[in-house]
């Protein structure tokens, strides 16, 4: 059974296929409005999430399908001690496809190994968040028209930021991509990502703590939030949370074609004054995420022979 647990589960060709489908959905939404009629998406959210869950739900409704599920672990059988494997087997009896978010890393992989329907990883702890990466990729493609020949600045929490790790993995498969890693010392990209992904594939990158200095070279600036829920120690969180705040002043030396992205929600790392800048793409990312989830749901249901 085909699932999406890690962005690398899909080839570059398959990602392009999803992007093409998403672009077609944007152009002709009515052609897709009944594709999943009579089908059910189960949203199993063991960890709170507003945008990802609602994005999945909106995606399924716009395909003409239905949604069942829960939005926190307390309202599921997990609170009674049920295993992820048993939950996946049970939900397979009710739904056609699962979108799962779980605070523990690897939980969606366990679900996929036990479910008889496709499983989509909607975020597992600080590990992977492949559908956010799908949203990011569609945004880059629609704004830049390409994935190659890009200088991509990643700024903020590069240590725990799962969206950053997934995006690096995804973009590393394209030609002539260069990364600028902008973070405080304590939140630098983990060495295994640098070693296993960047160095092993010979992908150029530089590390800096200075956002403004890096700015002029960037085609894409991907801002991230310092996430309170990833810290064991509140003091560390408070010390690091305001490390980078993007303001119109800091964008003075940026390219006219810069694409400013953020997986959202933001706290204060992008000033609201930036929202009116035509280079701000983070709300487009949200919309693109819904279209890519529609394309993904369709692809997995088709491969499972359910539509």
């Amino acid at each position: 059974m085909r699932s999406l647990i890690n962005i690398l589960d899909f080839s570059v060709e398959e990602l392009q296929e999803l992007i093409d489908t998403a672009n077609d959905i944007i152009a002709r939404p009515e052609a897709y409005s009944q594709v999943c009629r009579g089908k059910k998406l189960a949203t199993l959210f063991f960890e709170p999430s507003t945008r990802t869950r609602l994005s999945f739900e909106a995606a399924m409704y716009e395909l003409g399908g239905n949604v069942i599920g829960f939005s926190e672990a307390n309202s599921s059988s997990a609170a009674k001690g049920e295993s992820v494997a048993d939950t996946a087997k049970t939900i397979s009896c009710y739904a056609d496809i699962i979108a799962m978010r779980h605070p523990k890393e690897g939980a969606p992989l366990v679900a996929a190994a036990n479910a008889s329907i496709p499983v989509i990883n909607a975020g597992d702890g600080g590990h992977n968040h492949p559908t956010q990466t799908l949203a990011d990729l569609l945004t880059i493609y629609r704004e830049k028209g390409r994935f190659s020949d890009l200088t991509v600045g990643l700024c903020g929490d590069l240590k725990f930021g799962r969206t950053v790790h997934s995006l690096i993995n995804a973009l590393s498969r394209y030609e002539n991509v260069r990364f600028v890693l902008i973070s405080p010392e304590e939140l630098k990209l983990p060495s295994y990502v640098k070693k296993d992904v960047l160095r092993r594939q010979g992908i150029p990158y530089e590390q800096t703590t200075d956002l403004e200095k890096a700015m002029p070279d960037l085609d894409i600036l991907y801002m991230t939030r310092v996430q309170r829920e990833r810290f064991f120690n509140e003091e560390d969180y408070l010390r690091l949370k305001d490390s980078y705040i993007l303001t119109p002043e800091k964008l003075k030396n940026a390219s006219k074609d810069l694409c400013i992205m953020h997986p959202l929600p933001r706290v204060n790392e992008i000033s609201v004054a930036v929202d009116d800048d035509p280079r701000a793409c983070y709300f487009k990312q949200v919309l693109n995420g819904k279209y890519m989830r529609m394309a993904l749901i369709m692809k997995l249901l088709k491969e499972a022979g359910r539509i």
Binding site: V84, E105, D124, G126, R200
Partner: protein, 138 residues
């Protein structure tokens, strides 16, 4: 130093010096009732120094454990005092319940019945990562 030759059993030879005890532990040899000898820092033409483990019984050995700890080890099977089989060991692609993930954020930290599975992700540098959370093996 004299260690009796074994009649029927297994000799793990060419263990990198210092890894004999780790192999002993991970293979669970302390649970055996038969004689087991760990010989440390034996002079070796090939390795300079090496460890050797002699097991005085032909028990089932988890070759994946040996491949993970020390893929250069040679497993010698002895029957009736004769060497009947000499096996070299490869690094296994997967390790199941040999080593355990210590990442508190990993699903294996809360679901006790899950197998702890590690996959070989870098053969050159001998790197294994947890199947679930991708944490590097200790």
């Amino acid at each position: 130093m004299n260690i009796d030759a074994i009649q029927n059993g297994i000799v793990l030879d060419h263990i990198t010096a210092g890894r004999g005890m780790k192999l002993y532990d991970l293979l669970g040899l302390e649970k055996l009732n038969c004689s087991v000898a760990i010989i440390k820092n034996v002079n070796s033409k090939k390795q300079g120094k090496k460890d050797i483990i002699k097991i005085d019984e032909e028990i089932p050995i988890n070759l994946d454990v040996i491949g993970y700890v020390d893929p250069g080890v040679i497993v010698n099977i002895i029957r009736d005092g004769q060497l009947v089989e000499k096996r070299s060991i490869e690094m296994p692609e997967t390790l199941t319940n040999v080593i355990f993930c210590r990442n508190p954020r990993c699903i294996t930290s809360v679901e006790q019945e899950l197998d702890h599975v590690f996959k070989l992700t870098d053969r050159v540098n001998k790197v294994y990562r947890c199947l679930y959370c991708e944490t590097k093996a200790p």
